[in-house]
């Protein structure tokens, strides 16, 4: 079975600035859920930005293969169309653009790039309404401008809605639990769990174990000083909760 994502000796820095990713290796196979845990400032969010192609970061060496393709040569929208989705820690607001219109544009932009038939408006509306029901998103929220005036929980539900509509092969969840109460956390995790399938993988970035009670990982990595320093099963998350990251930070340094 070919891996979905392969990161080989990746080094990356903020353009013109600090080195953040420092010799990272990671392989994710189809159907797997990986968790990356680590202290604040370890470079976890940077990893998600580098993988999704955010401007302002520079890969200095190493390579990343996604579904066998050289990921680093693709623009962010091409990466999205290849099936990579980043669930933002702080989703952006887009004034004046209705949520439904945004979903429509996003879904069809990706389909077009992949040479697939586009969704008609009725098809899309039906799909979005169904998903919305699962996530407790009402029609009013679909008419409102993207994320404008949404609560923290609503924003995360909206991210989950986008993810479920776009059906990516790899979803990167960047601190998906930040700012969520327990009910919203359950809604988001239920969404992720509903999507789990043999050909879909998840990379869950978090520094609390709490989220992993709901999205149970196959593999847990400890990330410190820009690379993975320890890997274990789901029980590693519980261990970390008890012992903290200090021992690994020493290890990395």
């Amino acid at each position: 079975m070919a891996p979905l994502l392969e990161i080989r000796d990746l080094h990356a820095e903020i353009t013109g600035g600090r080195k953040i990713i420092n010799g990272m290796n990671l392989t994710i196979n189809p159907g797997e859920v990986h968790a990356i845990m680590g202290p604040n400032g370890a470079g976890k969010s940077t990893l998600s930005y580098v993988l999704s192609g955010k401007p302002g970061y520079e890969v200095t060496s190493g390579e990343v293969l996604f579904r066998g393709v050289d990921l680093l040569s693709l623009s962010p929208d091409e990466r999205a169309a290849q099936g990579m989705f980043l669930c933002f820690q702080y989703p952006l607001e887009i004034p004046g653009v209705s949520n439904m219109a945004f979903l429509h544009t996003a879904a069809n932009s990706q389909r077009k790039q992949r040479g697939e038939p586009e969704l008609t408006s009725p098809e899309l509306v039906r799909k979005v309404r169904e998903l919305g029901k699962q996530l407790g998103i009402d029609t009013d929220m679909l008419k409102r401008p993207v994320n404008v005036g949404f609560s923290g929980g609503e924003k995360k539900r909206n991210e989950t809605l986008q993810m479920m509509l776009l059906e990516p092969f790899l979803s990167i969840l960047d601190e998906a639990d930040s700012g969520l109460d327990i009910d919203a956390l359950k809604v988001v995790s239920n969404g992720v769990n509903a999507m789990r399938s043999p050909d879909r993988s998840f990379l869950v970035i978090t520094h609390y174990q709490r989220l992993l009670d709901y999205i149970v990982p196959d593999v847990v990595h400890v990330f410190a000083a820009g690379r993975i320093v320890h890997t274990g099963g789901k029980e590693l998350a519980l261990e970390l909760e008890a012992t903290g990251y200090a021992q690994y930070q020493n290890e990395a340094a």
Binding site: S52, G53, K54, P55, G56, S75, P76, D77, R79, A80, A81, F85, L86, F88, P91, L92, E93, I94, P95, G96, V97, S98, M100, A101, F102, H104, T105, A106, A107, N108, S109, Q110, Q113, S121, P145, Q162, L166
Partner: protein, 494 residues
Amino acid sequence: MAAVQDTVEQVRSIDVDQYKYGFETNIESEKAPKGLSEEVIRFISARKDEPEWMLEWRLDAYRRWLNMAEPTWARVDFPQIDFQDLYYYAAPKKFKAPKSLDEVDPEILKTYEKLGIPLREQEVLAGVEIPEGERPKIAVDAVFDSVSVATTFKEELKAAGVIFMPISEALREHPDLVRQYLGTVVPTTDNYYATLNSAVFSDGSFVYIPPGVRCPMELSTYFRINEKNTGQFERTLIIADKGAYVSYLEGCTAPMRDENQLHAAVVELVVLDDAEIKYSTVQNWYPGDAEGRGGIYNFVTKRGDCRGRNSKISWTQVETGSAITWKYPSCVLRGEGSSGEFYSIAISNGRQQVDSGTKMIHLGKNTTSRIISKGISAGRSNNTYRGLVSAHRKATGARNFTNCDSLLIGETCGAHTVPYIEAKNPSAQFEHEATTSKISEDMLFYCMQRGLSQEDAVALVVNGFVRDVLQQLPMEFAVEAQKLISISLEGSVG
């Protein structure tokens, strides 16, 4: 929702490597001699068979103009215009006042086709029957260079008592109406360019809606400059009599050329008791090349007079073209309870310079006005909003709300806001909100991570930014406007 998708598709389908409308139609022209003099004005007036009083009116304006100076207060910069180096009159030669579309030169009809004038207008111009109720009716009075060549829907309008014709024709057929209102909103002494227009105006539209009549269709004029070195001096006069309503659309494109072209139009609106005029513009004159060479100079005076009680004027404009825009559609709120609105989207890219805004002059009691202005600057352009809100001493209960937002794209453009607020009546309530923001890289990245290309992402964000104004445009016009907005911002993000 489809609107955004439309934009995206339309942008893709349009070749924007060069200005789409840059071509010329080869029709022989009859020109007045170069330069401006009393003889030229007499030539124009004679050509148009005008009554004697009209000639005197023009000459009076000309003599005043000789003693006036060009305004210099706007934030625009351009080389001195040599007014003696322009032609002031050019008429397509091959026809004399056509009676019907059959008499219109096929070359001209082809031009409209090339222009990509929306199908509905093309059909109208081509005389195609449109089934009843299938789509809103729009009557087109096309100004091709200086003489109107096609006026449509005349019969149906006539049945409603609406007069919609070239102003040169109105001067012959309804001289008293024209004489009663012409120059009463923008007097011949108003400003340098308006005075010049009064002296040499070539043609334009005349609209009169009789008392109590709601105009049965939207009226539309396409202006187009086609003759080399011909300054265009349209004159439009619209009167909504008591209780009348009309929605008027104006849109324009111009061919590519080397010399700068002067365009100094005057639009006058007169609104009597309980009447309303809605005036919408999509302006897409040639903006010049990448270095700003050869674009249109658009120095326009547009003003409406809410002369009657509870009268209303609404200006909506989408300004994407021209090398220089100098334009302040204004409302004089004279009648008690009258109201004025100004909704504007002004986009500048490349080396374009825009100085535009509005004046809301509250003279009557309980008058209200509303200004929503969205300026978008990209490239190396400069975009200035300049607005005046004033309440006269007698304007008890005057109210204004102004919202003025600027969006910057890139590092080398400028956005400026120059509001003037004068309240001479203590009961006046004026509100002013303004924001300036930069299109954020994070926002674009968010869109791109969801699958939008960079250009689509910019189009989406900008369309969201201008949404409040787009909603004011008649439906079909709004689609065109969206298309234009996206085209004018192509390549604005590196």
